[in-house]
């Protein structure tokens, strides 16, 4: 039986200052630094405590529905005539996305720390739903910041969060998307730091968040690595995942980090295409993206010449973010992971293809990863294996897709 939650190898990055090579760190106002210290200490204590593991493992099994299966996308693979595509089905986790893994982990930690007021930010709404769900389960108060642009394009998730007892706080500042929701959540945290736990949803932000979120998501790769070997008798030739902040990708990649023959491929949102400048491809468009500091961490940031953060575009709200988790910047620099992008058009195509050929409606975020698999598979031998993280289900995106493709 797969160990559902492993302690991260202590030799792993980040270092004591929260750096992955030259990326990461803690660039936040002094007011919340003591809270980050407290959080880091509580986290380290929790993961050294078998009781914490037992409780999380129990919830993963009996509540989230872990382990999630791996499905062989047989018809799709056959049609493409190359590599066999396997899907890690995080869409089948409770709430329909991988975000619940982190929400439950941090929720248990919040409870352990005696914090009763939880704040979160959300883009697509999947983390907001995951957080609202976990807080309903744990009996904690939940407030979710969400940009009004995202509220408009993710109505079903807004309703879900409210139904789950969370308060959804509309954010009107800036581009009114994920970036601005994080700004507001941080301002709330600075103000209410004594009583409040900030449940950050992706592998970004100040240390220890990138590490902690990765650890809570690493269950994806831990399970998948065993499952794919059991199914195919081999390790995958490549792991493919979409990258917004990058939590589902780092969760998948982490268990494969030492498997040198497994390529790690992150897929960013190409939006309307690189030349349009309307995208969220932080690693693909180095004219407007370079190392900088946003939301407490040093990583690649889409910005103008004057260091002002640029507005991004993606059809998928969950990838619509101008920076990327610092560990991804590090993996890219090491050339351990490779990053590419899929456009809105590519993702919408993959969304439909997977629905028709496999009976699985993927989230628009995950559709970016599927698009890369569709592109790659035909160039690879039939006995090769592509493992795609299907990070979420697409029901939440139906309004968006109907709006674009019509009925």
């Amino acid at each position: 039986m797969t160990d559902l939650y492993i302690r991260t190898d202590l030799s792993d990055l980040p270092d004591a200052r929260g750096y992955f090579g030259e990326f990461g760190g803690r660039f936040v106002p002094e007011t919340i630094i003591p809270a980050l210290d407290e959080l880091e200490a509580a986290y380290n204590e929790a993961i050294a405590d078998p009781a914490f593991h037992r409780e999380l493992r129990h919830l993963q099994r009996t509540y989230t529905g872990r382990p999630t299966p791996i499905s062989h996308a047989r018809r799709l693979s056959e049609a493409l005539g190359g590599a066999q595509i396997y899907l890690k089905r995080e869409d089948l986790a409770h709430t329909g996305a991988h975000k619940i893994n982190n929400a439950l982990g941090q929720g248990l930690l919040a409870k352990r720390m005696g914090k009763r007021r939880i704040i979160a930010e959300t883009g697509a709404g999947q983390h907001g739903v995951g957080a609202s769900t976990a807080m309903a389960l744990l009996g904690l108060e939940c407030h979710v910041y969400m940009g009004t642009v995202d509220i408009r394009r993710q109505q079903p998730n807004v309703f879900r969060m409210k139904l789950l007892g969370a308060e959804v706080i509309p954010v009107e500042s800036g581009s009114r998307t994920l970036k601005d929701a994080i700004n507001e959540a941080m301002r709330d945290w600075v103000t209410n730091v004594d009583t409040t736990f900030y449940l950050l949803g992706s592998a970004l932000g100040p240390h220890p968040y990138p590490m902690m979120v990765r650890d809570f998501q690493s269950i994806i790769g831990v399970e998948a690595r065993d499952q794919i070997q059991a199914l195919t008798g081999q390790l995958p030739d490549a792991c493919i995942a979409c990258v917004g902040g990058g939590s589902n990708a780092i969760g998948l990649f982490h268990a494969f980090r030492d498997d040198e023959n497994t390529e790690l491929i992150g897929v960013e949102a190409g939006g309307h295409g690189i030349e349009s400048r309307e995208h969220a491809a932080r690693f693909a468009d180095l004219d407007i993206s370079r190392p900088g500091i946003l939301h407490g961490t040093r990583s690649y940031v889409m910005q103008n010449d004057d260091g002002q953060i640029m507005e991004t575009h993606s059809v998928s709200a969950g990838l619509d973010y101008p920076s990327v988790g610092p560990e991804h910047a590090h993996l890219r620099q090491l050339e351990r992971a490779y990053y590419t992008m899929a456009t809105d058009v590519d993702a919408l195509e993959a969304f439909q293809v997977l629905s028709k050929m496999e009976g699985i409606i993927p989230a628009l975020e995950s559709s970016h990863a599927v698009a890369e698999a569709i592109k790659r598979a035909p160039t690879m031998p039939r006995d090769s294996v592509l493992l795609v993280n299907l990070s979420g289900r697409g029901d939440k995106d139906l309004d968006t897709v109907i709006g674009i493709l019509g009925n």
């Binding site: 106002p29 002094e30 007011t31 919340i32 800036g174 910005q303």
Partner: protein, 267 residues
Amino acid sequence: MTRQSQGTAALDAMFARAKKQNRAAFMPYFCIGYPDYDESLCAIEAVAALGVDGFEIGMPFSDPIADGPTIQAATQIALEQGATVRLCLDAVRQLRARGLSQPMLMMSYANPLVAYGADRFVRDARDAGADGLIVPDLPPEEAALFADSCARAGMALIFFLAPTSNDERIEMATANATGFIYVVSLTGITGARKELPAYLTDYIARLRAKTEMPLVLGFGVSSPAHARQLRGLTDGFIVASALIRAWERGFDEMHALARDIFAASQE
């Protein structure tokens, strides 16, 4: 009043003068580019003519996580007016050319400075006539980004302490700081407040027990009454949102508030 010194030395002189007059130094905040470039310079000149002690010169950033709605809105306008790092440096240069003698501290979030080049910014800011740097998202553990270049240029690198800072944090900030310690009055973001927190006296005493550095209070300092309250308590104070809010009612309102606060600090 002619300008005799620059950088940390200019700040030392500023605090010495205020101390001799038995008052806390008044350092108003103005954002370059709000409501437009020319008017922001006019405002700084007009308030400088009152004899205030120094200035925090705001440089706008698209994502100011430590700022409340008032400064968010003002800096957004400044960005729409085309304010850039270069323009902010030009502003300082121009103000010096017009004879402004008070210390000026450049306040910016880290990213625009990193984009400009941290070392290059410190050098250019000094050459323009600035005296130091305030970076609200740069805690002492990340100081390396600016510490060497500031030390070389004799520029002050200001660190913050907050009510949440424990003894270890206080030691870390004071060990790294030059110029003064920016004391955040409350756990929260910038913005005008009616009252200063009740714990202020104890809080300042706790910091005084740990450091000889001048203490400058900011966040929520808004009125002549506050300025009177701070006399004998802190070495200086910064007023930002309250001035911007007064300015929304007109330049004269803003100017009158700055005058009244300064007068109150001398009573």
